[in-house]
Symmetry: C2
Subunit: 406 residues, 2 copies
């Protein structure tokens, strides 16, 4: 087993100014490739502390990956701390300096002393190219460990890892790729799924992990023998005929778009309280344009009335948040955008706007499929963001159910 530690460097991460997404991204890629990610740690911009943690860790891990702290500013300490932990000095690296100067010149940026600092790297390091920024990555051998440092900007780090760091690691270590299959289940409590997982009697060597997130459950099967991974994932999926969404990382939007494409249907949205979230989610899937035609964000009642043709008397009688309005919105979206299907969402996302009759979290969703319209009301828990996210996931999930057997 090749043991890996991932360290994200930057005080802003510990203080919650920004969320570290790099470690999660690296963890997924490394795990799949067969590495064991045993430690993920956020470390403040403190020289002594970074050196200490690196020194201790290089005795415990085969690979240490760091992200962040290689920029030009005063609090960028990675190069000097890695050098110190590995018992090396930093020297001006001509190749890294040359790249930086060319990069900045091309963009008309004046080179400053602070920029030069970026090319001070540990002696005898391996360089990893950066095709999308000024700072190169670098690898340093220390005891039986290799420390590889990459930028903290996700886009730069992703490209560097996939293009240079991962190939280097795969050549250096002999690994067996892990196979995994994820089963997505929606609309059931975690404990119900857990019961069935226990009954499957999962064999040694096969791992099963259950994740829960706003209205969806992801059960991950993972192991080195592909047929066993497939067998158990399929078994679990078959145990939940009504709640199984799909395999893999394909989200609900992906599954819905695929289904619509198969059935040669097209989709429009009418969004009130979600304000564009449903459209965003659908258009995150590249190539969605053959199925998803567009939508109307009807945040104001005037827009509901004029652009979605929701009759004013319906809103007056039942309220803008009602199944009646949701129904008219869904019909309006299908008619106006000229699609065979439409989803509408109207609700009270909070924190204000709730009443006794319709408290915060009340959401009405309308589904139009080939002219047939159904509606449903929900009472979602949580903050504004949670209410909106649950509304969107529920809408996608129920729409999948509705068109599955059409």
């Amino acid at each position: 087993m090749v043991k890996v530690a991932i360290f994200a460097i930057g005080s802003e991460l510990l203080e919650g100014s920004i969320v570290d997404t790099n470690s999660s991204w690296l963890g997924a890629r490394l795990t799949k490739a067969g590495f064991n990610v045993d430690d993920v740690r956020l470390i403040p911009d403190n020289k002594e502390r970074i050196v200490n943690i690196l020194k201790k860790s290089l005795k415990e891990y085969d690979v240490i990956l760091t992200t962040g702290g290689i920029g030009p500013t005063f609090d960028d300490l990675t190069a000097e701390t890695v050098a110190e932990a590995a018992g090396k000095v930093t020297v001006m690296n001509p190749e890294a300096r040359d790249h930086m100067i060319k990069w900045l010149n091309k963009r008309g940026v004046t080179i400053k002393e602070s920029h030069e600092r970026q090319a001070l790297l540990p002696a005898d390091c391996i360089l990893f190219k950066n095709g999308s920024g000024t700072a190169f990555g670098f690898g340093v051998e220390a005891e039986n460990c290799i420390i590889i440092s990459m930028p903290g900007v996700p886009y730069e780090m992703h490209k560097m890892f996939d293009g240079y760091v991962k190939p280097y690691l795969l050549e250096r270590f002999e690994l067996t790729e892990r196979f995994s299959k994820d089963v997505r289940i929606a609309g059931l409590p975690e404990s119900d799924i857990d019961d069935v997982v226990r009954e499957l009697n999962i064999p040694n060597g096969l791992e099963c992990i259950i994740n829960v997130s706003k209205g969806e459950c992801l059960v991950k099967f993972r192991g080195f023998i592909q047929s066993i991974v497939e067998e158990y994932a399929d078994k679990l999926a078959k145990s939940f005929p009504d709640n199984f969404v799909g395999f893999g990382n394909d989200g609900l939007a992906y599954v819905l778009l695929r289904l619509l494409r198969e059935k040669k249907m097209t989709l429009a949205v009418a969004e009130s309280c979600t304000g564009g979230m449903l459209g965003k989610e659908l258009t995150e899937v590249s190539g969605s344009s053959d199925v998803f035609m567009g939508g109307i964000i009807s945040y104001s009642n005037d827009v509901k009335e004029r652009l979605l043709r929701v009759p004013k008397n319906i809103m007056v009688k039942h309220g803008a948040v009602s199944e009646e309005t949701a129904k008219a919105m869904a019909i309006g979206a299908a008619n106006q955008i000229r699609t065979s299907c439409a989803i509408s969402i109207t609700g009270v996302a909070g924190p204000d706007g709730g009443t006794e009759e319709k408290p915060v979290g009340t959401v009405c969703i309308g589904y139009c499929v080939n002219g047939e319209v159904t509606t449903k009301s929900f009472q979602f828990p949580g903050y504004r963001d949670a209410v909106r996210t649950r509304a969107l996931k529920t809408a996608l999930r129920e729409m999948i159910e509705l068109i599955k057997n059409k």
Copy 2:
């Protein structure tokens, strides 16, 4: 200084199945309250490893906060590992059991053996109530440290921390609140801002942290003397008259909505490649409905033509991704939604759809302010998500500039 470690427990976090946002959320709140967050670590669901890290850490920190691993499933190990690290046994906690049973009964869920496990907590622990889930939090004294364990579900954890854990910690430790002021600057490279920060000669005791994220720079000043924090934040803001966006955590959407409100203007959007992202961003700000009326997601050209009234010959002659189309979309949105202002975005987000003339990343944005329309073209780097995010932030930023002096 009260030293705090935050441990997020769950193999899925290290393997990148989900991103840990809890630690960042806790880090921000604790830092503001005057605690020092010195360690954030993700720990796999491995009994020995959790116990080891806890045992070592309780000698180093005054407070250890854990999230995750207190649910009913087989891989939930927090209670037993915390107990072992603290030299205690686990016992059935009647109050926690009672809460769980009531909670589940109310929701019609059958109580199972796995549920009962949730109420096996370390002996002599303090309980922290959970108003939004089955599992209570618990605190255990060990040497000179208090270990407090909370759920991993963000919504449950947030409520528990704010309602019970934070008040408990504030009573237990005497702390001085930290003051902070964030300065948001857009459209400049980090190194330019760094230069000015260095020239400010920041005094001892005042911290300054620079964060960069897709097209925006956040400079955070922090210290225990409010007047000094304010003074230096103001100085920095004044150094960038053209690129200063605003103070605080208020994002671009918040700033734009506030400006529009002040000027009694209203806003509509017309979104092609962003597919609803701009609407989502604007409606994330609660109370946006007095300014933001709605929009049209014109993912297909047919919708651009019919609902936004973009003349067909413009799209044929210049293409759907062109400043001419962006201009017509902005005018169309303002006319159709009946607002004084509108923003339109059309572009090639990728990964497909790029041409030599208009490669992936080409985005045209239109701004309509009281009938006056301006347009701009951009070439954004990055993946689909980065292109879409940059497009949206640029659109908000430029719109702020346009209406600032109206």
